[in-house]
Symmetry: C2
């Protein structure tokens, strides 16, 4: 199977005929006609993920997020950048194809990033509305216990919170990745929290002047609101992990493995 | 002195005649003609900051960031929102004027947010170029020690890091508040880091697919790069703290005090 055939197969399996004419799902390196020897899926094609893919004998990486540090993966500004040049050399010396699978992944029959996360946290049956993966009703717990749950399920050492750890909660929102920034409408996460009467919003990315400030004020007013920040990578990596499983039967004979890009942060 | 006179005095002292025709520096509540009994400065007019201002007998709050959860402080979407309605009642019942002092504060003869931060960390003499508060050269230290330094100076319990705590560093960038998002150009913080040969970038807000990914790759390639995330509020609060001091002599007879909006997060 060639690189372009793997891409077409993935898109067709996820979206059927709804292939986007323009999207961020671009082949960032490699020849579409190259024979694929092995595939690695990961949240991001970091330098370490590329090295591990090479060690696995894979020559194609399917990454959810950009390879070169901006949303559109522009490389003009990087022409003489030492980080870019060394990473590019690593990729080219080893003839690695890197394809971004982002937009189609989120617009599948189901959003396959959420599908993976739900498998890892076991909340498939807790969705408030069928096939609406942003809101859940769970058995009552506390914010502190919910934080421990996510730390354990997603293998995190520290979790950032707005709210009182003793607060009871059962109605939970999840906005993975950059979705928690509002997708062009800053108030979206707050409207969701209000309109669906959610106790806690679990977020990927955040900024402090929007949902964070809203939840902080709500808490000060004695309302039952809180926020858990699990971050972009932790909230979306599970989707790429489970991709390795659904992709394998579609590319028979080509080994597919998942490599965890890992949370970039440590906490001191 | 009336509310509008305080505003005009602050803008003239900061920017002289360079008053912006359009800016985010709007009076979010209160009557411009109201007599001011006391002024509170803070990073954000949170519910707790408003309550403390009332307890101080102040009827004017000067806030750096929005009061109602979006960059432009739009309130249309909040018309029936319980958080908004309770906060608005608190403000109106106590006749508190809230003025945002943001754009003019950053475009002063010197950026007065940085001025305050530099007083708190004592780096006024470490600037690489005069009146360019984004880059510093300090005595060599390690990333771990630098994190401890910021935790102590800014009263933080946990700091988020990309990089090796043992990494030596002396050339440090600081991008406070939302500036670390790039101000409309995602690559700006990375270009600054590269072009000024910085070891560490100290950030307010971040997203994981830009500077964070760049620094993470640089680290994996063995380059001497790291990132400290101190957050929006912690990176800008010092500016509002020191504002209380420079504002006091300009509004003789009106008591001015600073109230710390405090970091919204806890870490579990």
């Amino acid at each position: 199977m060639k690189v372009y055939e793997v891409i077409d197969t993935v898109i067709f399996d996820t979206c059927g005929d709804r292939k986007l004419e323009k999207s961020g799902d671009i082949l960032m390196s490699g020849d579409p006609d190259m024979e694929v020897t092995g595939i690695v899926t990961s949240f991001m094609a970091t330098v370490d993920v590329i090295r591990k893919a090479i060690a696995h004998g894979a020559n194609m990486i399917i990454t959810h997020e950009p390879t070169f540090y901006t949303g559109k993966d522009d490389i003009e500004w990087l022409e003489h950048d030492p980080v870019y040049l060394e990473k590019k050399k690593l990729i080219e010396d080893n003839q690695i194809a890197i394809w971004r699978f982002h937009d189609h992944m989120h617009m599948g029959h189901t959003d396959r990033i959420y599908d993976g996360l739900l498998k890892d946290i076991g909340w498939e049956e807790q969705m408030i509305e069928k096939n609406q993966p942003h809101t859940y009703e769970i058995a009552q717990t506390t914010l502190g216990e919910l934080a421990e749950f996510f730390k354990q399920k997603l293998n995190m050492s520290v979790i950032q919170i707005v709210g009182d750890p003793a607060m009871p909660c059962s109605r939970i929102g999840i906005l993975v990745g950059g979705g928690s920034l509002g997708l062009g409408r800053e108030q979206m996460p707050m409207e969701l929290m209000r309109d669906k009467n959610l106790d806690v919003m679990v977020c990927g990315e955040i900024v402090e002047w929007t949902l964070c400030a809203y939840v902080n004020d709500a808490k000060m007013l004695g309302l039952n609101k809180a926020m858990l920040v699990i971050g972009h990578e932790r909230s979306e990596e599970s989707g790429m992990k489970h991709m390795a499983q659904w992709l394998q039967p579609l590319v028979e004979g080509i080994p597919v493995s998942f490599i965890d890009a890992e949370e970039p942060f440590i906490y001191l």
